[in-house]
C-alpha cells in the first residue's frame, strides 16, 4: 500500500469514527452540510473541469429536492423510490437541454447562458406552481409517523445523517476518480481543447459530453434530495436558481477545479465563512456572506484561478524540482 492510499484510508477511518467520539450537535450539523454541499460541488466540477461551465445545476438540484418532497407529500411515495425518480427527472431535463446544445455545438458563452436560463426557469416553475410547492415561501416534507423514519428517510440523529452524508461524499469522490482515470477524461480534454480536432480523431463529441453532463446532473439531483431530507425544509432560493448555481461555481473555483478534494475545500471555506459571519453579526449578516463570496470569487479568478488547494498542490509539486 503506497503512502497516498494509506493517507486516504486513515483519513476515512478518522472521519467514520468522528461522530462516535465527538457528539456536539451543532458541529455535526455543520459537517453534514459541508459533506452534502461538497458532494454537489464535486458533481459540478466533474463537468466544469472540462470547460463545460454550467450555471444550470441549481435547476438540477431544485428538481432533485422538489420532486422527492412532492412525491412524498402528495402521493406518499417513499424517498427511497422518490429520489431515484427525481434523479431520472433531472437527468431527462439535462438531456433535453444539453442534447441540442452539444449536437449544434453550442459552447462557451452560449452554453453558459442557456444553462443559466435553465436554472432561472426551474425557479420560475417552482414559484409558479405555488399551489403545490408553496412558492417562494418554501416547502416542508411531511413528518413520518414515529417508527417509520427509515422508510421516509427521516432521522433525528445527527450521527445517522453524518454517516449517510459521509458515504455519499465518498461515493462522489469515487465517481470523480473513476472519471479522472477513464478514457472519457482524455476524450473530454481533447474536446475542451478543440472540438473539431477531437471529432476528427474519432471522439464522439456529443455522446461524451452528454455522458459527463448526465453523471453530473444525476449527482446534483441526489445532493438536492438529500439536502431536502436532511433540512426538512426547502425553498426555491436555497435549492434552485442562479444564486445556487453561482454558489457552486464559486466554491469550486475557490477550492480548486482540477483536484479531487478542491470542491470539498471550497465547501469547507464557504460554509464556515457563512456560519462565522452569521454568528458574529446575527441577522445583520444577511447579504454580507454573499458580498464576501462575490468579492472573493472575483479576486480568486483574477489572482488565483487554480483555487486554494490546486495552487498549494502545484507549489508542492514544483518545489522539490527547484531544490
Amino acid at each position: 500500500m503506497n503512502p497516498r492510499n494509506a493517507a486516504w484510508a486513515i483519513g476515512l477511518v478518522a472521519l467514520i469514527a468522528l461522530p462516535f467520539v465527538y457528539r456536539e450537535p451543532y458541529h455535526l450539523h455543520i459537517l453534514v452540510l459541508i459533506l452534502i454541499w461538497s458532494f454537489a460541488y464535486t458533481a459540478w466540477s466533474i463537468m466544469g473541469r472540462f470547460g463545460l461551465v454550467s450555471l444550470g445545476h441549481g435547476g438540477f438540484m431544485g428538481v432533485g429536492a422538489y420532486v422527492t418532497a412532492l412525491l412524498w407529500n402528495h402521493l406518499g411515495v417513499s424517498p427511497w423510490i422518490g429520489i431515484p425518480i427525481s434523479m431520472v427527472a433531472a437527468g431527462m431535463l439535462a438531456l433535453v437541454v444539453a442534447y441540442p446544445c452539444f449536437r449544434f455545438r453550442i459552447t462557451g458563452h452560449y452554453f453558459v447562458l442557456v444553462t443559466l436560463a435553465l436554472s432561472g426557469i426551474v425557479l420560475q416553475v417552482i414559484t409558479a406552481t405555488r399551489d403545490h410547492t408553496g412558492g417562494s415561501l418554501g416547502y416542508t416534507p411531511n413528518r413520518a409517523p414515529s417508527g417509520h423514519g427509515l422508510m421516509a428517510l427521516q432521522f433525528d440523529s445527527k450521527t445517522t445523517w453524518y454517516l449517510i452524508a459521509l458515504g455519499v461524499w465518498v461515493f462522489g469522490l469515487l465517481i470523480w476518480r473513476w472519471v479522472d482515470r477513464s478514457m472519457s477524461r482524455y476524450a473530454m480534454e481533447a474536446i475542451s481543447e478543440d472540438e473539431d480536432a477531437a471529432a476528427a480523431a474519432g471522439v464522439n463529441v456529443t455522446a461524451e459530453k452528454l455522458k459527463i453532463t448526465l453523471i453530473s446532473a444525476l449527482m446534483t439531483a441526489l445532493a438536492g434530495a438529500l439536502y431536502c431530507q436532511y433540512q426538512m425544509f426547502i425553498s426555491p432560493d436555497t435549492v434552485s436558481g442562479i444564486a445556487v448555481s453561482l454558489q457552486m461555481v464559486f466554491a469550486v473555483i475557490v477550492g480548486g477545479l482540477y483536484v479531487s478534494l478542491g470542491p470539498t475545500v471550497g465547501a469547507v471555506i464557504t460554509i464556515l465563512l457563512a456560519e462565522v459571519l452569521r454568528i458574529k453579526f446575527g441577522t445583520n449578516a444577511v447579504g454580507w456572506d454573499n458580498l464576501v463570496y462575490g468579492v472573493m470569487l472575483v479576486v480568486f479568478i483574477i489572482f488565483l484561478p487554480k483555487g486554494i488547494l490546486g495552487s498549494i498542490l502545484d507549489r508542492l509539486k514544483t518545489q522539490p524540482k527547484k531544490a
Binding site: 453550442i106 454580507w288 463570496y293 462575490g294 470569487l297 483574477i302 484561478p305
Partner: protein
C-alpha cells in the same frame, strides 16, 4: 409583479400590443448585452443587476431626495454608465487575456456583489417610485402610459445608439473593433479607450432600461433575476453580438411571454418562452451561428 400581472386583461389584441411594448424594453437590454459581447467579447452575467442598481438610484433620487423624474433619469443613466466603465476597468481589464469563461464567471461574482450590496444597503423591501401614470383606454383595451413611454424611449435610445455607431468616429471604431480585434490597434485606435467607452455605453443602456422599468415594477435586490435570464435567452436566440437578431428575438420572446401570461400566470409565460427556445435550437440552430468563431 402584481402591477405587471394586472395589465394582462382578457383581450388577445391587448396582449399582443402589450407584448410589443414589452419587446421594446427587452430589445434595449439585449442591445446593451450584445454591444458588450460584440466589441469586448465578454458576457456580463450581472447586466440585469446593473439595471437593478439603476432602479434603486431612481428610487432614491425621486422618493428620498425629491428630484423630479426628468431630472433623476439622466443622472441615473450617467450613474450606471459610470458603473459599467468601472466594472470593465476593475474586473474585465485584468482578465482580458484569461480564458473567456473566467471573465464570465468574474461577472458572476459581480452579480453576487451587487445583489448582496443592495440587500445590505437598501434592505429587501419592495420599493416603488410612487408615480402612477394614467392608463390609456382605447375601446375596451387598456394600456398604461408607463409602458408606452418605455417603448418609445427604448426605441429612441436604440436609434441614438444606431446614429452614434454609424455617424461618429468613435462609433465607427467600435464597429471596426468588433470585426477585427487585432488589426485595430495597428490602425491607431486606442483599444483600451474604446473598450471603456463601450462599457460605459452598455451601462448607459442598462441605466435607461432602469429608468423605464422602475415605472412599471417595484424594485428589490433580486429584481434582476426576473428579467435577466430572459435577456440572455434573447441574445443567444438572436446570436450573441448580432444586433438585428437580438432586436427581432426580443419581440418574439415578448409576444410569447405576453400571450402566455394571457392564458396563465406570468411565470408560465417565461417557461413557455424557454420551451420555445429549446425547440428553436433544434429547428433553427443556424440562427445561433451568426457570430460563432
Amino acid at each position: 409583479m402584481q402591477g405587471f400581472l394586472d395589465i394582462f386583461d382578457i383581450y388577445l389584441l391587448e396582449a399582443v400590443v402589450n407584448g410589443i411594448l414589452l419587446g421594446g424594453v427587452l430589445a434595449l437590454l439585449a442591445l446593451g448585452l450584445n454591444l458588450i459581447f460584440g466589441v469586448i467579447d465578454v458576457t456580463w452575467i450581472c447586466y440585469a443587476e446593473l439595471v437593478m442598481i439603476g432602479m434603486y438610484g431612481m428610487y432614491y433620487m425621486v422618493q428620498v431626495f425629491g428630484l423630479p423624474y426628468w431630472v433623476a433619469a439622466p443622472i441615473a443613466i450617467l450613474l450606471v454608465a459610470a458603473l459599467g466603465a468601472l466594472l470593465h476597468y476593475i474586473v474585465i481589464e485584468p482578465l482580458l487575456t484569461a480564458p473567456p469563461i473566467n471573465q464570465l464567471l468574474a461577472t458572476g461574482g459581480v452579480l453576487f456583489i451587487l445583489q448582496s450590496f443592495a440587500t445590505v444597503a437598501f434592505g429587501i423591501d419592495f420599493r416603488n417610485l410612487g408615480i402612477r401614470l394614467p392608463v390609456l383606454a382605447i375601446g375596451d383595451m387598456h394600456f398604461s402610459y408607463s409602458r408606452l413611454l418605455a417603448f418609445v424611449a427604448a426605441l429612441l435610445g436604440m436609434l441614438a445608439v444606431y446614429f452614434f455607431m454609424t455617424r461618429t468616429y468613435t462609433g465607427t471604431a467600435i464597429r471596426a473593433i468588433s470585426q477585427d480585434r487585432q488589426i485595430m490597434s495597428l490602425m491607431g485606435v486606442d483599444t483600451k479607450r474604446i473598450y471603456l467607452i463601450t462599457s460605459a455605453l452598455g451601462g448607459a443602456l442598462a441605466g435607461l432600461a432602469a429608468c423605464l422599468l422602475v415605472l412599471q415594477y417595484d424594485v428589490h435586490p433580486f429584481v434582476g433575476l426576473s428579467f435577466g435570464p430572459i435577456t440572455f435567452l434573447i441574445c443567444v436566440l438572436g446570436g450573441l453580438g448580432n444586433f438585428v437578431g437580438g432586436f427581432l428575438a426580443a419581440f418574439v420572446f415578448a409576444q410569447i411571454i405576453s400571450l402566455g401570461g394571457l392564458f396563465s400566470d406570468l411565470e408560465w409565460g417565461y417557461v413557455l418562452a424557454f420551451a420555445f427556445f429549446i425547440v428553436m435550437m433544434f429547428i433553427r440552430p443556424a440562427g445561433l451561428l451568426a457570430r460563432r468563431s
